[in-house]
């Protein structure tokens, strides 16, 4: 057993209002530079829709993620040999038009305009070429809130063909928001696809980063990531990606997207996992089995044996404590209400989603008179088809999604029972309760975490472990110049490279 810790995220889609605050604060923090104007480390998509970049889920086209070739886990776009053969031209790489051509407006024209009969106009200028763009044809969230409707939304790769005609009749249309960041996968395809070895997963917290000095701009990470969350900066000609706000995480602060989320839909917490099991979990044969296999990798932080072993392997005490209190562990592993995004890509993503309940209130006409079991039919006839959610969150398997929705519904009924009483029978003796399979105490704990949890409960972020330098005397007073001017009489410390993890 090789224990590693990972800082993971849960997003509760039931509470996402699609305000894009996460995207905007992220952009202002990380990608407001030349070459990254089109880059959104965090974006919020309206689904159904083609997403960003368009049709990113269409792996026939972009060939991202992993697949099994004769039982062996292989990058869908091929191994090192295939990469080298395509090094002069990567056929799977999206072009900037698949994202959008970024632009700004000529605001100065408004200021400088002389007095005249008509209002001056600020024209759109491309940030790639500087030229005037008469008519931008696609942009960030072009299809926000189903804009473009039946013309654009059916380009969602999750929609089976026959589904399309029905789903976009006005009366039947459904919609949800899907905020996306890098999933900081346990089995990251981008890392495996980098010919230069510039991408890596951090031992301490599992954050996946790009070494800008080692990146040679071969671009295979961009196409290999099935979520299209590695971007190519066309100004520096290097890959960039969501870095999980690692400087904040190291300091014990939540990521900017989590901190600024007005709906408080995001949760952060450490999870302990067994790194030896990662490859086998990603290699299970059935696509719908990957989710369960991923759950098996995680280690129970309540188990004293696990804790003892984690200590022995050098996991810091604060991370073990964090793992015990981790809201992510509770939602993803204990209650199983949070699901990974497209587990069938075999990347074992570590950003988890609680599926949305398709605004219950509008759906239930006379909730005050309802029995607990009547909610069962409500769950099975939600406005957002369970098959659609399953295609995004469970490789098409409706069972885990239904379980999650049942549990969220049971939570709702439990709280209603407390506040307004129940109809003919209490929740505890209903079929809904049975099928949901959680105890009343668990539902109560869930209610707290999902609805009222405070900052500290939502974000359990242990500060980065700083291993003290072997020879502090040597660094004392050197102001970081010890390489140029070593303190006299002191021996240079040898790097502790031999430490095996």
């Amino acid at each position: 057993m090789r224990i590693k810790a990972q800082i993971a995220m849960v997003m509760n889609l039931d509470k996402c209002i699609g305000c894009h605050t996460c995207s905007v604060t992220c952009k202002n923090t990380w990608t407001n530079r030349p070459g990254t104007e089109y880059v959104w480390f965090n974006n919020v998509e309206t689904r159904p829709g083609p997403g960003y970049p368009q049709e990113w889920e269409n792996q026939e086209r972009y060939r991202g993620g992993w697949s099994l070739v004769k039982g062996k886990l292989t990058l869908r776009s091929g191994g090192p040999g295939a990469k080298l053969a395509h090094i002069f031209y990567n056929p799977d790489l999206p072009s900037i038009d698949d994202y959008y051509e970024p632009w700004t407006y000529d605001y100065q024209a408004l200021v400088d305009s002389p007095r005249r009969k008509h209002q001056p106009v600020a024209r759109a200028h491309s940030l790639v070429t500087g030229e005037v763009m008469e008519k931008p044809i696609w942009g960030p969230n072009w299809d926000d809130d189903l804009a473009g409707g039946p013309e654009i939304a059916p380009r969602d790769p999750n929609l089976p063909a026959l589904f399309q005609q029905v789903a976009f009749e006005y009366e039947q249309a459904f919609m949800m928001y899907l905020p996306r960041i890098c999933n900081h996968c346990l089995n990251p395809a981008c890392v495996a696809a980098c010919p230069s070895g510039a991408m890596y997963k951090r031992e301490e917290d599992g954050i996946v980063l790009v070494d800008q000095d080692a990146c040679r701009g071969w671009r295979f990470c961009v196409s290999a990531c099935p979520y299209k969350k590695v971007y190519f900066n066309w100004n520096t000609h290097k890959a960039e990606k969501c870095n999980f706000c690692y400087p904040r995480i190291e300091a014990g602060l939540p990521t900017v997207c989590s901190e600024t989320c007005v709906g408080r839909i995001r949760y952060l917490g450490p999870i302990l996992y067994d790194a030896d099991k990662v490859k086998d979990a990603a290699s299970v044969s059935g696509l719908t089995d990957v989710y369960e296999a991923q759950l098996d990798i995680f280690l129970n932080p309540g188990d004293p044996d696990i804790i003892q072993e984690a200590r022995k392997q050098g996991i810091p005490e604060s991370w073990i404590e964090g793992a015990k209190k981790s809201p992510v562990y509770k939602m993803a592993i204990e209650w199983k209400i949070a699901l990974p995004l497209h587990p069938e890509y075999r990347t074992l993503p570590m950003v988890w989603y609680v599926p949305p309940l398709s605004p219950m209130m509008n759906h239930l006409a006379n909730e005050y008179a309802m029995d607990a079991d009547s909610y069962l039919t409500a769950v099975d006839s939600m406005r957002i088809p369970v098959e659609y959610l399953a295609s995004i969150l469970a490789a098409g398997d409706t069972a885990p999604v239904r379980r999650s929705l049942l549990r969220l519904t049971a939570l709702r009924v439990a709280k209603r029972e407390k506040n307004v009483g129940y109809g003919s029978e209490p929740l505890a003796s209903s079929r809904l309760f049975q099928e949901a399979g959680l105890t009343l105490d668990q539902l109560e704990e869930m209610a707290r975490l999902l609805a009222v949890a405070k900052h500290q409960e939502r974000f359990v972020v242990p500060t980065g472990n700083r291993n003290p330098d072997e020879n502090l005397e040597y660094q004392q007073g050197a102001c970081g110049l010890e390489e140029l001017a070593p303190p006299e009489g002191l021996k240079k410390p040898q790097p502790a490279r031999s430490v095996k993890r």
């Binding site: 997963k201 031992e203 000095d213 100004n235 790097p495």
Partner: protein, 232 residues
């Protein structure tokens, strides 16, 4: 003058190439890379890049066969001069034209596609123009001169000179009577070597062969990263 062009200049060019590359690698590793513009334009790049790169790789093999492999080796193998030049004409012509078409497409794309042009540095332009001239002269020698004027036996002049250069025994006398266009082709080629560290051409040295040997998923801890930076 002969001493300058066939002894001093090539060595200066090679020293600039090696020292310049090392300097850039050590002091500005962030700038080291292929400077790809595929994100901005894909359809022309596909043909230009594929033709050029595969073409030039084959052309390099051709140059090794023509210049680094001694004439005596071919004689020992029983390959006649006529047969050699005939093959060099055909194979060199095909690969040369591949490369030339590729570089022409790349140059045209860089100049005419506004997205690419606006995001090109001066060095991106210069490199392509220089390569275009070098490849054009090379193709002219292989395809036109070979068939109009007749084959030139560079294996007894340019070849020995280059091999001498590489083992630090340059013999400028060998180059004196080489036709002018060959001389221009060689001088420009060394110019490409000399400017390479200051252009995108450095990506040649980053051919990722270590990729075949490493484990797919890389882990690094912060300590390791820090010491790597210091030791660089």
């Amino acid at each position: 003058m002969n001493q300058f062009w066939w002894v001093i200049y090539p060595y200066v060019a090679l020293v600039v190439m090696i020292a310049g590359s090392l300097y850039r690698y050590a002091h500005n590793p962030m700038s080291w890379g292929s400077r790809s513009s595929e994100l901005l334009e894909k359809s022309w790049l596909k043909w230009g890049s594929l033709l050029f790169h595969w073409g030039i790789l084959l052309v390099i093999i051709g140059h090794v066969m023509g210049l680094l492999v001694p004439l005596s080796f071919y004689r020992a193998m029983g390959i006649s001069s006529a047969f050699y030049h005939e093959s060099a004409d055909i194979l060199g012509g095909i690969t040369g034209l591949m490369t030339w078409t590729g570089v022409l497409i790349l140059l045209g794309r860089r100049l005419s596609n506004i997205r690419v042009r606006r995001n090109s540095s001066l060095s991106d332009m210069l490199v392509l123009i220089l390569l275009f001239i070098v490849v054009t002269t090379g193709d002219y020698l292989t395809i036109v001169r070979n068939n109009v004027v007749g084959p030139y036996e560079y294996r007894s002049t340019v070849g020995p000179w280059l091999r001498g250069l590489l083992v630090f025994h340059p013999n400028q006398a060998l180059m004196v009577n080489v036709p002018l266009l060959f001389k221009i082709h060689i001088i420009l080629a060394f110019l490409v070597f000399a400017v390479s560290p200051f252009t995108r051409l450095v990506h040649i040295w980053s051919l990722p062969l270590a990729y075949f040997r490493r484990t797919p998923i890389q882990y690094r801890d912060r300590e390791q990263y820090r010491y790597k930076k210091i030791s660089m």
